[in-house]
Amino acid sequence: MTTSDATQVYQVSIKTTPDEVWKAITTPEFTAQYFHRARITVTPDAYRSYGPDDSVWGDGSVAVWDPPHKLVHEWRSLYDPELALEEPSRVTWEITQQDGGICLLTVTHDRLEGAPRTARSVSGPGWTSVLTGLKALLETGRPLSGGAA
C-alpha cells in the first residue's frame, strides 16, 4: 500500500453552523444517531468510542483540538478483533463555513499504511454512510431511517 492509497478523503456540505457540526462529532448523544450507534466522546486529550453494549470501539489520542474548525485524532478499530491488531491510523475533521449558511465538512482518513483491513472496512459505504447520516441529522433533526444501525 503506497502513501496515496493509504489516504481516503470525503466531503459533505451541511446546512448548519460550524458549532453544530462540532457538537455532533464530539458528543455521544449525537454520534449514537449516525455513527453506527457508537457513543463517541472527544476531549482535548482523548478520543473514546463505545458500542451500544458499552464495549470499547475506539480509543486514541487527540493531536489537534481547534473548535469548531479542526479535529485530528488517532483511529484504532477496536470494534473488530482482527482490525484491532492493526496499527493506528489518523482521522482529520475540517469544518469550513461557506456562503448561504452552509458548512463544508471534510474528513481525511490517512496513515492507513499499517492498517489495510481497516482501510477496506471504512471505505465505500463506511465513511459515506456516516457522513450522509450526519447531514440528515443536522438538517432534519432526525437520523436516517436505518442509518443509525
Binding site: D5, T7, Q11, V12, Q98, G100, L104, T132, K135
Partner: protein
C-alpha cells in the same frame, strides 16, 4: 475546494451532469479501484490529451465527486462517493421498494435466463 453557494437542486444537477459522460464515469471507476492517483496516472489509461482529462476532472471536482490533495509536486485525486450516496438516498431509495424492485428483479431474471 468546492464551493456550495447555491441550493440542493444545483448540487444535484452538477452531480447528474458530471455522471452523464462515459469518460468521467471511467475516471471515477479508476479512483474507486485505487485512491490517490495523479493526472499523469489517470491520463495513461485514457486515449485523450492531458488537457481533456484535466477538463473532465475539473467537472468531477466541481460536482464534489473528486477531491484533490497536494502531495509534494503532485496533485492526487480521490473519489468522494458522498454526493452519489445522497442522490441514492434522496431519489433512488424511494423507488427501490415496491413495483420498481419487482420490475428490476424481472429484468434481472429475464436477462440471466437468456441462452
Amino acid at each position: 475546494m468546492v464551493t456550495y453557494s447555491s441550493g440542493v437542486q444545483d448540487d444535484d444537477d452538477r452531480v447528474f451532469k458530471a455522471l452523464a459522460d462515459p469518460t468521467r464515469r471511467r475516471l471515477l471507476d479508476r479512483l474507486f479501484e485505487r485512491e490517490g492517483l495523479s493526472l499523469t496516472e489517470l491520463e495513461s489509461e485514457l486515449e485523450m490529451t492531458r488537457f481533456g482529462v484535466a477538463k473532465h476532472l475539473r467537472v468531477l471536482e466541481e460536482a464534489g465527486l473528486v477531491l484533490s490533495r497536494r502531495s509534494g509536486r503532485e496533485k492526487l485525486h480521490f473519489l468522494n462517493a458522498v454526493p452519489i450516496r445522497l442522490i441514492h438516498d434522496r431519489w433512488i431509495h424511494k423507488y427501490a421498494e415496491g413495483p420498481a424492485s419487482v420490475l428490476a428483479e424481472l429484468k434481472n431474471s429475464l436477462e440471466e435466463g437468456d441462452p
